[in-house]
């Protein structure tokens, strides 16, 4: 069993060429998958945070002129908490 597997992995003596080729392809594909997923997550959270901030400000009665659409998808949860987090990081 192990001998058969060894023979297979040796690839008729071409293991040093075949496996690196597959390795490079796997590396590039995995890197793209992770990077693309992270980009979506980052911009989604940043947008949600800002929308929540705007919604929170509108809720206190000072907003309205912010230019945001009323139909915007404000996220439920704790917008005011998030807004104050923002202030803490900003100052």
């Amino acid at each position: 069993m192990t001998e058969a597997m060894n023979n297979y992995l040796l690839m008729g003596g071409y293991a040093a060429y075949i496996w690196p080729a597959y390795g490079v392809a796997a590396l590039v594909l995995i890197a793209f998958a992770i990077d693309s997923w992270r980009r979506v997550r980052q911009s989604t959270t940043a947008l949600r945070r800002l929308e929540a901030q705007i919604a929170a400000r509108d809720g206190t009665g000072r907003g309205g002129a912010a230019g945001n659409k009323p139909g915007g998808t404000a996220v439920s949860g704790k917008p005011q908490q998030r807004a104050s987090d923002q202030q803490a990081t900003g100052s």
């Binding site: 392809a25 590039v28 705007i54 945001n68 807004a83 104050s84």
Partner: protein, 271 residues
């Protein structure tokens, strides 16, 4: 096609498609790798090294396909100002560069045992290396200007001019003497490759293609959301003169938590 040029509609469609695309990508890779690595036979001339083909050829096809897509998107962006075209071109560019690199490296690793060299400066290899540099130039140019739109325009023009390289790559093996073998799939008279090798090759090509589209849609979505974020930040700045002044002092574009911009919300949270 015009119906999908609306970013909102694109986002809804992409969100609905994405899980299916990812599932299909995984399935195609599992099946393709099984056929390529276990089920397909060794070549009578090339031995086991023929298995590099199942990586090399799909990556090279995809590298050229992605470039064609960028060229078409660039034309749409320049002629009709499609709101999605620039986003698509910019999102596809790094992916194309990555697949070009995979094709170059795997080809090199295939060339060493079969041709006795990692690299020759013949027409096919050189024009493919040029494709890689075109991708890098496209990526760099799109981000070289402070004004995003100017950067996208410049990159679009580069992409269109560089498109002449695609047919050169395709026909380089017919027009010039080369070590590279001629086309064996997309040729007059049908494929000249045995079905036991053709099937894994095609399945791997489908897998690469599916991967490309799921990554492309994800990157386009990320960019569209980021663009919406920029618009919201800009609008908020405009509606708050004090914040605008502070931002003008700090630079042209504010960070999400620029001082002063969150004052009203902060007051609300405190009370």
């Amino acid at each position: 096609m015009h119906r999908f040029a609306n970013p909102g509609r694109f986002l809804r469609l992409a969100d609905r498609l994405q899980p299916w695309l990812i599932a299909a990508t995984v399935l195609a890779f599992v099946g393709g790798l099984y056929l390529a690595l276990f089920h397909s036979p060794a070549d009578y001339q090339q031995g086991e090294t023929v298995r590099i083909m199942y990586i090399h050829v799909p990556a090279a096809w995809l590298a050229m396909f992605a470039y064609c897509l960028i060229a078409v998107a660039s034309a749409c962006a320049l002629i009709w100002r499609h709101p999605l075209a620039d986003v698509a071109a910019e999102a596809a560019s790094p992916l194309g560069a990555g697949f070009t690199l995979v094709a170059l490296v795997s080809g090199s690793l295939w060339g060493r045992p079969m041709w006795g060299t990692y690299w020759v400066w013949d027409a096919r290899l050189t024009s493919f290396l040029l494709l890689f540099f075109l991708y890098l130039g496209h990526m760099a140019l799109a981000q070289a200007f402070e004004d995003r739109q100017r950067g996208c325009r410049a990159a679009a023009i580069l992409a269109l001019v560089g498109a002449v390289n695609v047919p050169i790559i395709k026909f380089s093996v017919d027009w010039w003497n080369t070590l590279h073998q001629p086309a064996s799939i997309m040729r007059m008279g049908g494929p000249s490759i045995d079905p036991s090798m053709l099937h894994p090759l095609l399945l791997m090509a489908v897998a690469f293609q599916l991967f490309f589209f799921s990554a492309l849609f994800a990157r386009m979505k990320a960019e569209l959301l980021a663009a919406r974020l920029r618009v919201l930040l800009f609008n908020r700045l405009r509606s708050q003169p004090s914040a605008a002044k502070a931002a003008a002092k700090a630079g042209n574009m504010p960070a999400a938590g620029a001082p002063g911009t969150t004052a009203p919300a902060g007051k609300g949270a405190g009370s």
